[in-house]
Symmetry: C2
Subunit: 312 residues, 2 copies
């Protein structure tokens, strides 16, 4: 059995795990990222944690894989750091290799989760899959024949900013009509809030005690599941744009599997059933033959396991 | 120097060429496809033409590449034949290898053109490119790190059926709001025709002598180039949806180059200038840094050269 380290670098905490060739975490730990102390300091502390875990489990680490929030080119250079005061264009693989003496690769955090799902999660055994993380935003990762499509400047798989409506809803990115603006958890909350401002005679309004500020995507799906027509209509809206966006991805990539992760995917059948039905309106028939629509399996471990897959 | 054969299988005629390792056609010929005589008959005649060309030029053919109108899986099996009365699911590589005794690969005709442009045409030297054929319909081919993304069922790169408008214009495929319905030559003719039915005081109407049935995309671009405001407005419309569709491809694939082919691409700067400007509204900034937007270079030779690239 071969062992590598998987690192999930976050704005506040960094998860670190020793992973075996089958994608199982032997042991993992978490440290403060403390990015203000500089990249060299953070990377050195990450390496020390890896060494400790390896020693404790009597294994030799043969590679380090890292997921990072930001665009990564050639699995080494970070074009810019979204959440850290670190220098843009840093060759992070080279830096970690210098510190650790061990081959290192890194990629964007959502791409890494997609790689993990493709190799060890819901997509294992399939030659191609697209993983879509439906959370506060919408991220994606495209896996084809063993590799991620990371793109020329690391923006490959940025499906959340595919435009579905010309001059449509304003997105957090500053552009309009993005997939994310309609289908993220924030997107469905925006739509529900807008409707609740003019309709208060529904079970959703009661559920949140009339306090729009506490509304979560889960409330909408829960109320819909209990038969609230107002909420069912919002879920229908979500499913429609989800089908349009996924349909586009199917027509462009034609993958074997679509893997849905993030909070919105937890809605389950109340969302997936209308989604499957509506896909027929947006995707070419050939892309639906044998297509699997799956929920992500790795959950919180996705970042560490996926990062390890970069070097397994 | 190594030599291979490139075959561009069409509904009526089939082009066949001997191509060298640098993508140059040594000699080419054309035969009637005569698909009614059966696939074995057509393939045997293709092989005889290859043998003749090879003998005449005193070269040994080491591989056969074929482009075919229809979805191809694993560069061998044609899921169904769009224009031929041949059996769906035929393993065409195997059949040609049995007839010729020479390794054969095939792929969809638009994918093959994209491969040709990527290796030997406008995209040579770039690691990734997406070729978009803007003709009667809109086809596409995606090239990343030396390979085409052909998809699970051969529908990879079917960008023409990406939806840009929910419940939008009816497309030839039977669905609505497709990229193709807005940006193909047919798309721009539809839009112009619709407008000409209510506005006849413009240079475009004069140019076609009031006969809507003779209107071609070229007329619109020519009239626009001469300053006709009515036509300029239609070009603006074309550029807008082209930018939206290409922007989506950039956000998903993040290629180094977009290569435009087909009749609409011949419009040149009158279309490409507003397209470049409008892309900023639809594509993430990172996907535009260093992006090349190019016109296809291989023209009529694209099919033969591209097919040969499958085995070069």
């Amino acid at each position: 059995m071969k062992y590598v380290a998987g690192v999930d670098l976050g704005g506040t905490n960094t998860k670190i795990g020793i992973v075996d060739t089958e994608g199982h975490i032997v042991e993992s730990t978490s440290i403060k990222t403390d990015s203000m102390r500089g990249i060299e300091d953070t990377f050195t502390r990450i390496w020390r944690s890896i060494e400790d875990l390896a020693k404790k489990n009597s294994v030799r680490v043969e590679g380090i894989g890292m997921g990072i929030p930001g665009p990564v080119v050639d699995q080494s250079v970070v074009t810019f750091f979204a959440n850290f005061p670190w220098e843009a264009g840093t060759d992070c693989s080279q830096l970690m290799e210098r510190i650790s003496g061990i081959p290192t690769k890194l990629d964007n955090d959502v791409n890494v989760i997609a790689l993990g799902e493709a190799r060890f999660g819901a997509g294992r055994g399939y030659r191609s899959s697209v993983t879509i993380a439906l959370g506060t935003g919408v991220g994606g990762g495209i896996y084809v024949d063993g590799k991620l499509i990371s793109g020329m400047t690391g923006a490959g798989g940025e499906i959340g900013h595919m435009k579905l409506v010309k001059d449509g809803k304003l997105c957090g990115c500053g552009q309009r009509g993005c997939f994310e603006a309609y289908t993220s958890a924030t997107g469905i909350i925006r739509e529900a809030t807008s409707r609740l401002l003019v309709n208060k005679t529904n079970a959703l309004y009661e559920r949140i005690g009339g306090d729009l500020s506490v509304l979560e995507a889960k409330d909408i799906f829960d109320a819909a599941r209990e038969g609230d027509e107002f909420s069912l209509d919002i879920v229908e809206y979500e499913a429609e744009y989800l089908a349009m966006g996924i349909g586009n991805i199917l027509n462009i990539i034609n993958p074997k599997a679509i893997i849905l992760g993030g909070g919105v995917a937890l809605a389950g059948d109340i969302l997936l059933k209308p989604l499957r039905e509506k896909l027929k309106k947006y995707a070419m028939g050939a892309t639906l033959d044998g297509l699997e629509i799956l929920q992500a399996e790795l959950g919180n471990e996705g970042g560490v396991v996926g990062a390890s897959a970069l070097v397994l």
